[in-house]
């Protein structure tokens, strides 16, 4: 069988660093080819070269045997390469039909043939099994439907190679099933899918072969049917490292530090009776939309909610984030780039910002560096220096800067973590959980929301399962197997 795509000896240099150093990638027709590697291994750069966003410094690309060198993303798409980015590049205020045929709408002179466009869009949506109307505005659709729209867009361009960059990061389990079905039908038509993901279960399930990148080089190509996942993970991280920190210690006992009697947001959540002891990590499991984020935001005073809770025996009143912080609550928000960090500002200014609300009011830049240094050092933030803009750091280091912000402030009683490991690689995840555990050991009560159940079972002392806005069950991961908990997460039924 001839190859659909062959990238040979791809080199890409950026000022001061070599992002890709001779990468090889070969994709067959009708195959799901997984592209794996830790953050910073070069996956995104490689895909941007394929799509035409970047120009390689060296190397050749063959598409169906013919030399291929897209100068722009538009040229890449025209040649049959469609990339579906994690941050979906759909225009939220336009309709599905407008998005699907953006720039390629059927026209009659200067006029758009709306009926024909709607028909074409409908056909594309039907092929991915999407039932929503083509006149819906993208903003109003749930994430999974937006994902399907992005895939349908790739189909209207008649793409031969479809690149999916971490499609699962924002999807719930059932939504992911739907996307997987679409991937299988695409490959059945002979199209090739390049699938980028950090979740090994998905990779093993959907992938045919995998190319592992490490430090800008191809570390290996594996046939997934005959390779164990440990071998692949080992190739990704280069050395044997445990996947996630294990809960190897007894659960803390004593009086709860945070005692949530009820959190009620009409129409969204009604959660009752969650206690967190000092030093305890309580996990919040649930499908997308089950109310994990809403619960944390309500506790942090970030949305209007009826909260009846006690902190250290005293009633907790949080009209807004500022008073939540004063009370000793700290939030690591869901989206570190939009909600957690000032990307243009330096590492030390980001880490210092929450600690400044108290005297001394004068803050010479050097004092800011001095007060943040212990936290940045103990978390092991890797940066060119405290003056480097935080937007230039890797995801794991960015997340650590968010943590450093709270550690520098000091006086944290309750740490609220919302999907803290989203988009992080295996090593960075383990490292982050180690830091969280370290904080818990100092007596901090931790509420940890995650859609990665295996991370919760490995790191939480107890797991509260949220289902459609209610906490339906509580498990001890030392006793209950993951499959039992997963069943409750998906069905809402208690065993």
């Amino acid at each position: 069988m001839t190859e659909r795509l062959r990238m040979t000896g791809i080199v890409k240099r950026f000022p001061g660093t070599v992002a890709l150093d001779g990468v090889e990638l070969s994709v067959l027709p009708g195959e799901v080819h997984c592209l794996l590697g830790e953050n910073g291994a070069g996956k995104s750069t490689l895909m941007k070269i394929l799509a035409g966003s970047y120009q390689p410094d060296e190397g050749t690309i063959l598409l169906d045997g013919r030399p291929f060198r897209p100068a722009t993303p538009h040229a890449g798409l025209a040649a049959g390469i469609a990339v579906i980015y994690q941050e979906l590049d759909l225009l939220p205020d336009l309709t599905v039909a407008q998005n699907l045929l953006l720039g390629r709408a059927p026209r009659l002179g200067p006029f758009v043939r709306r009926g024909r466009r709607a028909r074409l869009a409908r056909e594309a949506l039907d092929r991915v099994g999407a039932a929503f109307p083509v006149t819906a505005r993208v903003r109003d659709l749930p994430i999974a439907a937006q994902q399907l729209t992005a895939i349908a867009k790739a189909l209207t361009a008649d793409a031969r190679v479809i690149v999916m960059d971490e499609p699962s990061a924002t999807l719930s389990e059932s939504e992911l099933r739907a996307v997987f079905d679409v991937i299988r039908s695409l490959t059945a038509e002979g199209r090739s899918v390049i699938f980028i993901s950090h979740r090994m279960e998905e990779v093993m399930e959907i992938g045919d072969r995998a190319t592992v990148l490490r430090d800008g080089r191809t570390a290996g190509v594996y046939d997934l049917a005959s390779t164990g996942r440990d071998e692949i993970v080992a190739a990704m991280i280069g050395e044997a490292r445990e996947l996630v920190g294990a809960t190897g210690r007894p659960a803390p006992e004593g009086e709860p530090l945070l005692s949530v009697e009820r959190v009620h947001v009409p129409g969204l959540i009604d959660v009752r009776g969650i206690d967190v002891r000092p030093g305890e990590v309580v996990g919040l499991a649930g499908l997308g939309g089950a109310g994990r984020t809403t619960l944390l935001r309500a506790l942090f005073g970030d949305l209007k909610a009826q909260v009846t809770a006690r902190l250290d025996g005293r009633p907790l009143k949080v009209p807004g984030p500022a008073s939540a912080v004063r009370a000793g609550l700290a939030l690591v928000p869901e989206s570190r780039k939009e909600q957690g960090l000032m990307l243009g500002l330096s590492v030390s200014r980001n880490a210092a910002i929450s600690a400044l609300g108290r005297p001394p009011w004068l803050l010479p830049g050097r004092l800011g560096r001095r007060i943040t240094e212990p936290a940045l050092a103990s978390l092991g933030v890797k940066a060119a220096g405290p003056a480097q803009p935080v937007g230039q750091l890797s995801g794991g280091n960015q997340q650590k800067v968010v943590l450093a912000k709270w550690i520098t402030r000091g006086g944290i009683r309750v740490l609220l973590l919302d999907e803290p490991t989203r988009g992080l690689d295996v090593g960075a995840k383990a490292d982050l959980y180690r830091q969280v555990r370290h904080l818990a050991d100092q007596g901090v009560a931790v509420l940890l929301a995650s859609s990665e159940l295996n991370e919760l079972t490995a790191n939480a002392d107890r797991i509260q399962v949220l289902y459609e806005g209610r906490n339906v069950a509580c498990f001890d991961p030392r006793v209950s197997p993951e499959s039992v908990i997963a069943h409750t997460v998906i069905t809402g039924a208690t065993p």
Binding site: P321, V325, M342, L345, L356, G380
Partner: protein, 335 residues
Amino acid sequence: MTASIGSTVTATAGKDGAARSRRGADLIVKSNLLLVFLALCVVASLLAPQFLTGRNIANLLQQSSLTGIVAIGMTMVVLTAGIDLSVGSVAAFGGMTIALLMAAGVPVVPAILVSVAAGAVFGAFMGGLSAYLSLPSFMTTLAGLTAVRGLTYLLTDGKPAEASGSEAFQLLGGGFIGYVPIVGIIFVAITVLAAVVLRGTTFGEYVYAVGSNKEAARLSGLPVRGLITTVFAVSGALAALAGVLLTSRLTVGQPTAFNGLELDAIAAVVLGGTNLFGGRGGVFGTFVAVLLLSVLRNLCNLLGLGSFFQMVVTGLILLVALVLNMLIERRGARA
């Protein structure tokens, strides 16, 4: 813990170089403007011998100081990713208020305080509306631009107001110490004060944080709304101060004064390298930009070029500066 993780903030050779070149780029952006400014001064003194006379320089400083004071307040607003279109009207209101107060026999100091405070209240109101109701400041201050100008006309039914002030009051806006105009000293003092506040205090750090990412600042527990309100109050107060100083120099309050001041101030802020989307920039750039623009105007005057020509040149200079800043910034971002 693995060895690579347990260490402190580690500096790698490549990244260090990148950071250095970025610092270099920052320095170029800043000194670029200064270099252009100095070059312009050299050109001006060659083309027009009168340029480098003490009297001309003094006049130049006096003319640019009022716009400069307003531009400093505007810089702080823009740093929080806001904009204040009402400064011209607020300045005119401040100028009229002090004229009327002086005419009514109110002593100088309380009169100045009341006028400046009125500007602060206008600013706080418009900024507060923007902050607490999540309205774009472009809109609230556009409303302010019209409404406050109307109020200013209503004070005297559109007629100028004589400020029968004391000698000391007239010195404030029109006096010189040697060749140095007093308003120039006030301009420099306000710039330095603003620089210290922005670079050295918690408040200044919050300004940059809010401008850089409002949502992250809020979730970090920062008083975002109060801060935005305060910044607009400062801008309003400085605008009213400029009005007071103009009335002091002219000894008469003009309700039509400072028409279009907001555009001059914004032009200076942008030329000074402050990002209109907030979070980046500072008052030093604005200071140099204000001087640069008025040297340009002065040069055109000395060469006998009309004001129509001046407008074209000013616009072109702004464009060139924006493109230059963009190119340098893009270079810095890639590193």
